[in-house]
Amino acid sequence: MKDSCSSVSELLEKYFDQEVTDRERFLVEGHLQDCPTCRDALTSMEGLRTLIKVPVEEATQQEDFPWVWQKIEREIRLQEKVSWWQSLRSWIHLSPLLKKKTWIPAVAIIVVLLLITTQVILKKTPSYSDASVVEYIESETHNIMVYESEKAKMTVIWLFDEEDEEDQELSRS
């Protein structure tokens, strides 16, 4: 190894990573012309980069990420539900009222009251005809079509851009 190798060897990796200044690049390239050892070292680094990079690139190119986004959405939804439940649990733990053993007769009273309330609600409620699903409808910007299917239990409200109708008129004429 040449004496100048010791000064250039520190720069060799920076040169390989394209992080050198113009002056440093000039120094390294000048040295490389005459030093097979440093050239081998550079080649070795290039080979290592290939070995590390290529399998990862190939794996990424072959990957079609099946259902990954759907799973992410589902996980976010689940976490939102869990955090609501955790807040409630922490509130229950903190609440002094619920720590006391007097909650047993209290729960019994609640159950009875809820049963009574439910009976009252059920008796009061009239049954609605579901013949009419759309109570009212209006739009400032679109024409509207409403389609109701009793059989499919489906109601479709379709909005037409005014310019769509113009295009249809133009194409018909």
């Binding site: 007097t102 579901d130 009419s132 739009s139 299917s149 109601t155 909005l159």
Partner: protein
């Protein structure tokens, strides 16, 4: 007994409040998806919607953009961005047993693209479609979870 009484009174009040609140709330399922004739992919969760809409509209591709399941309380609007520049606002107007009247407003900037009130009941879906989105259209479906 003196110690228990305030606790029981609190629980009694709470149960009455809960009973009255449960009288006027409904959980809805809101889905926003893009339907187009570009491509042939369909999100598996949308197959039921595609089959229902087929008599009216039949696109080759359905892609789910957003799904929310908010709980609506009487006269408390809940808003969501529906797609860039638009907001969908849901308000529970009234609710009786398994029927809920919900006002649906879709707004862009300050304009009402749609202002409607629909009645949701078990098994019924309301679909609102038509606004352009990219190469296709936006379809919004709303159903009650009773």
């Amino acid at each position: 007994m003196r110690r228990i009484f305030p606790i029981l009174l609190f629980i009694l009040s709470l149960s009455l409040i809960l009973a009255s609140l449960s009288y006027a709330q409904v959980q809805v399922r809101l889905r926003v998806f893009e339907a187009s004739n570009v491509g042939t992919g369909i999100d598996s969760s949308l197959r039921d919607m595609r089959d229902q809409l087929k008599p009216l509209v039949d696109f080759s591709s359905y892609r789910l953009l957003k799904e929310e399941t908010p709980t609506l309380y009487a006269n408390r609007p809940v808003s969501f961005p529906a797609h860039p520049g638009r907001i969908i606002e849901l308000t529970l107007i009234k609710q009786d047993k398994n029927v809920a009247d919900v006002r649906v407003r879709i707004k862009r900037e300050q304009m009402d693209i749609l202002n409607t009130q629909v009645r949701l009941s078990p098994g019924r879906t309301v679909s609102i479609g038509g606004p352009k989105h990219g190469e296709g259209v936006i379809i919004i479906t709303l159903s009650g979870q009773f």
